[in-house]
């Protein structure tokens, strides 16, 4: 008998609760929309409305940019298996650069769920082995709520980059499309990032530092 898979929404709710004060980059489609459904609009969530295949890359840039900042904790990416496979090369870039703050969750349901459930190639890919072969500091695969909780405790205490592959089912919440202006999403995230810093003036692009000097 096959054990029941975790629900994606259940996993997203857990991640939100586990990292309330942590920058989180959300992949497009069901991951972003279900996180909005279970957690609402959160300042610490950077919602990617498209850019498929680039979720981990955005989080990598954030983790590198915040490497020496006085924010606390990790930078999270919540990615799907289909999107990850579209930009798999980033695993090698992460392994090479070793951003110590980066924690990636891959919610693997084996399909492109948002577009009708077409299968991905993930079922035949050992992502834990791929990540560790790319020199990530650690990677685990989990299938139950208990394993997810234990892996998250481990990941939050372990220097990154670390990856957790979460096997989830294909159940979906009934959610609406999310049509917020992306410029507002970016600005909201910047504001949260600034407010989360002990010394926000260290963040030039959100503290109003001018590149061009004075004048109108």
């Amino acid at each position: 008998m096959t054990a029941a898979r975790l629900d994606r929404a259940q996993v997203l709710s857990f991640i939100d609760a586990a990292a309330p004060d942590t920058p989180v980059v959300l992949s497009l489609g069901g991951i972003a929309r279900e996180m909005l459904a279970v957690a609402g609009r959160k300042g610490n969530h950077f919602v990617s409305l498209d850019a498929m295949g680039q979720t981990i890359s955005v989080a990598l840039g954030l983790a590198l940019g915040l490497e020496n900042s006085d924010t606390t904790g990790k930078v999270l990416a919540v990615e799907g298996d289909g999107s990850l496979l579209m930009g798999l090369s980033v695993l090698s870039t992460v392994g090479h650069l070793k951003p110590r703050r980066l924690l990636v969750y891959v919610l693997d349901n084996g399909v492109y769920l948002a577009t009708g459930g077409q299968p991905t190639a993930a079922a035949d890919i050992d992502l834990v082995t791929v990540a560790t072969a790319c020199s990530w500091r650690g990677a685990r695969e989990v299938r139950t709520a208990e394993e997810l909780a234990a892996a998250t405790d481990w990941a939050l205490e372990t220097e990154g980059p670390v990856l957790i592959r979460v096997r989830v089912g294909t159940a979906q919440l009934p959610v609406r499309y999310f049509v917020e202006d992306p410029a507002i999403l970016a600005e909201d995230f910047r504001r949260w990032l600034r407010s989360s810093m002990v010394t926000p003036d260290l963040h030039p692009s959100i503290s109003g530092r001018s590149e061009a000097g004075g004048g109108i």
Binding site: Q54, G61, G65, T93, L193
Partner: protein, 189 residues
């Protein structure tokens, strides 16, 4: 030595001199920006520029210099860096423009994230790769179709103005909250 081979030798030396002068100007322009992250992709025409940042004087403490396997990955990493308040610059050649358009138009453009990309021109006079023309000659048209602002540096701009133009392009990206490309012709045509 025949007359024609002497001319060919002179032409090569002249092209090399132009390449070195223009590469030095591009390096000076990028150094004026003082990026803390330099993301690059392999390019024979950019060899002098890339060497400066990878293992030359530009490889300084506090600056992270690394290769992006694909241009679109670099765009997305730069987007994250911008959100974090960092100062990234991308360096690659123009035949990779096609790879990055989707990331550019689904991330940097709609999210209003500034980005400076310095892309070397390929194709045209002096090009030795027989098939690179097909995409490189369409670089401006591709960027125009995407609504991406670009500036061109070639023989029409005195090389002693290049560094200042690159610095202005950086400021322009920030002023306009969008990606800006500087297309640099290092090959002399």
């Amino acid at each position: 030595m025949t007359g024609s081979s002497i001319i060919a030798e002179d032409e090569r030396e002249g092209q090399q001199e132009i390449l070195e002068q223009r590469s030095a100007a591009v390096i000076a322009g990028i150094e004026t920006i003082d990026p803390d992250h330099v993301l690059h992709l392999a390019s024979s025409t950019l060899k002098i520029v890339l060497s400066h940042f990878i293992d030359g004087p530009g490889a300084r403490p506090g600056r992270r210099v690394f290769a992006m396997p694909r241009e679109e990955e670099g765009v997305a990493i730069a987007a994250g860096l911008e959100l974090a308040g960092a100062r990234p610059v991308l360096i690659f050649q123009d035949n990779g423009i096609g790879n990055l358009l989707t990331a550019l138009l689904t991330l940097c453009q709609p999210y209003h994230l500034p980005l400076l990309a310095v892309a070397s021109r390929r194709g045209g006079l002096g090009e030795y790769n027989s098939l690179i023309h097909t995409i490189s000659e369409r670089t401006e048209a591709l960027l125009d179709a995407a609504g991406v602002r670009w500036f061109q540096l070639d023989a029409r701009t005195p090389v002693d103005r290049w560094a200042a133009e690159i610095e202005r392009a950086w400021a322009f990206a920030r002023t306009t909250h969008r990606p800006v490309f500087v297309l640099v012709n290092l090959m002399g045509s």
